[in-house]
Subunit: 311 residues, 2 copies
C-alpha cells in the first residue's frame, strides 16, 4: 500500500519501506503522473492520498485543482482513495479533499500523543495542529487555519526573504530589502548551515547553483548589492536576520495556539524539525517513527487507511 | 536622438516625438536587442542610455549585467553612450553605469525645480531624489540609496502582496497572508480602479487574464482562498489593505527624506504619479513635460546628452 501527499511544490510518497519527497512544482507543469508512475508496483494493493496542491495557481479554483489531481493520480492508481477534512475517503473529487494533508497527520497521531501539539515545518508552510481538540479541526479550510494560527505560511526552503524581513542591518546600517524574488529561506538556511546543498530540493530563484557562494550572492542581491559590495559578513547578516525573524514568527504562533488550546507537549515533524526541536523544546517525531516524520501526511494517510483509524 | 532606460523588467525609449515603455523582463531572457531594433532609425543621430537592469538575477554580478547591456545596446546602436552616476557618458562598461537612471533624472530636473523632491514611482520601485543636494547624490549605489531612503522597493505593478502586508482583515477577522507569489500590486491597483487592464503591462503571477475577475481571484489566493470563499468584498479588502500599507510606506519614506534634506516641493513622476499627486500633494511632472514623465530617465538622459547638461 502506498501513501501519497500531492502538494503544490512537492509530492511525497510513503511505501512499506521508505518515504520519498520529490520536487514537483505543479504551477510549472511538473509531470506528476510520470513521477507517480515510478511507484506503480508499490500501489497495487491500494493508494491513500491527501493533497494541498489544489491551491497552486495553475488552477483557477480549488475544485479545478482537486479534479485534476484526482484524475492524474487515478490514471496511475485506478483504485486510489482520497482523504478529506471530513475524515472520510473519497473515490472522486469533493470539496473536503482541499488541503486535508495536515488532518490525516492529526488523525494518525492523536492516539499516540493525546493532547499534544504537532508542529510540522515543510519547505513552504508550517502546520500547527493541536491534537487535544479533535472536533474543532474537522472541516477546517486553509483560510480558517490561517485565521486560527494553525497554518503559518513560512517554511524551510521556499519562503521569499522579503515575505519575512523588511530591513536588515548591513555593517550596522539598517537597510530595507528589495521586494524581488531574489533569495529564499533555502538560501538563508544553507548559509547558516541548517541544510546542505542536497537538501536544497527546490529550484533556486535565479536558476544558479546551490553552493554556498551562490546562496550568498542571492542574499546580497536582496539589498541590491553584489556580494563584493557587502562581503560574506553582510550576506550572512541577511541570513541571520531572516532566521531570527522567521524563528520568532514560528515561536509566537506556536505559543499562541498553545495558550488557546492548552496542547502540550510539542511534537516536531517535517524537514524543518531539526530547527523546531531546539527552538520549541519539542520532541522530534523522527525519534518515534523515523524518516516517515519528514513526509508525515503521506505516511499518515497510508496508516489511516491501513489501520482504519478514525477520530 | 534616442534616450533609452534599460531596467530589469521594462525598457523605456524616448524619441523626438514620444516615449514608450516596453515590458522586457531580462531575467526571463526577453529579447532586448529585438525590441531596440525597432528604434534603429530614431537612434541614427545618437543614443543616450541609462540602466538599472544589471541587477537582474540572470547576471551573476552587476559587472556582468553592465557588460551584457552595453554590448546588446551597442549591437543596435554602435555609437551609444552610457550615462553613469559619475555624471559622465561612457562608451564602454564601467561600474558607474550601475543604476544611474534616477541620476540622469536628477541632473535633468535640478535646474527646473531647484530644491525640489522628485518622487518617481514605476512598476517596481519608487525613486526619491532630493534635487537640493546635488553633491550628495553623485556615485550613490542602489545599496546606499536603500539605506538613505532614496530607493523604495515598491511599485505600481510588480510588488508581491506579501512583501507589503502580513495580515489583512477578511470579514473582520485578521488573516495572515500566504508568502507565495500569488498576487501583485497590479492586481490590487486594478481592482481599486487605479489602473486599467491595458496598463497592467507586466506578466500576471498565474499567467491568467488582466480582467477584474482574474485579479480578484489572484488576491483571494493570497489568503489561500477561492474567490467564492471570501467573495468580492473579501478580495477588495485585500487590495485596500495592500494600498493602505503601500501608501503609508511611500508617504513615510518621502517625509523622512524631506525632513533630512529640506527638499520641497514634491514633483511626482512615473506611471504611479497618479497616486502620488493626491497622496503627497505633489506637482505632476506630466503637467510640465507631458508623457515623458512616465519614462523619465529615458527622456532625461536624452536631454542630458542633447543639451549637455551637467550638475
Amino acid at each position: 500500500m502506498i501513501g501519497i501527499d500531492v502538494g503544490g511544490a512537492n509530492v511525497k510518497v510513503a511505501t512499506d519501506s521508505a518515504v520519498h519527497t520529490l520536487y514537483c512544482p505543479l504551477w510549472k507543469g511538473a509531470p506528476l503522473r510520470d513521477i507517480l508512475s515510478r511507484y506503480r508496483d508499490e500501489g497495487r494493493d491500494g493508494a491513500a492520498v491527501v493533497m494541498s496542491g489544489e491551491l497552486a495557481d495553475c488552477f483557477s479554483s480549488k475544485d479545478e485543482g482537486i479534479a485534476w489531481i484526482v484524475r492524474t493520480v487515478r490514471d496511475v492508481f485506478p483504485g486510489a482513495l482520497f482523504y478529506g477534512t471530513d475524515g472520510r475517503f473519497h473515490d472522486s473529487p469533493a470539496p473536503a479533499l482541499a488541503a486535508a494533508n495536515w488532518f490525516a497527520a492529526a488523525v494518525y497521531l492523536h492516539s499516540s500523543y493525546p493532547g499534544g501539539l504537532l508542529v510540522d515545518m515543510g519547505s513552504t508552510t508550517t502546520d500547527i495542529v493541536p491534537l487535544s481538540s479533535p472536533g474543532s479541526l474537522r472541516g477546517l479550510t486553509d483560510l480558517a487555519r490561517l485565521q486560527k494560527g494553525y497554518l503559518l505560511y513560512t517554511g524551510l526552503l521556499r519562503t521569499p526573504v522579503p515575505a519575512v524581513i523588511r530591513n536588515v542591518p548591513i555593517h550596522g546600517i539598517q537597510t530595507p530589502v528589495s521586494s524581488e524574488y531574489f533569495a529564499t529561506s533555502a538560501d538563508a538556511h544553507l548559509v547558516l548551515g541548517h541544510i546542505c546543498a542536497e537538501e536544497y530540493t527546490c529550484d533556486t530563484p535565479d536558476g544558479q547553483g546551490k553552493d554556498r557562494d551562490s546562496c550568498l550572492r542571492r542574499l546580497a542581491r536582496i539589498v541590491c548589492a553584489d556580494l563584493s559590495e557587502i562581503g560574506e559578513q553582510g550576506a550572512v547578516a541577511i541570513a541571520a536576520a531572516f532566521w531570527e525573524t522567521q524563528r520568532e514568527m514560528v515561536r509566537a504562533a506556536v505559543q499562541k495556539v498553545q495558550q488557546v488550546s492548552g496542547a502540550d507537549p510539542v511534537i516536531a515533524a517535517g524537514t524543518g524539525s531539526r530547527l523546531l526541536v531546539p527552538l520549541l523544546g519539542a520532541r522530534d517525531l523522527a525519534c518515534d517513527i523515523g524518516d516517515a516524520a519528514s513526509a508525515l501526511p503521506a505516511h499518515a494517510v497510508r496508516e489511516v487507511m491501513r489501520r482504519d483509524l478514525t477520530w
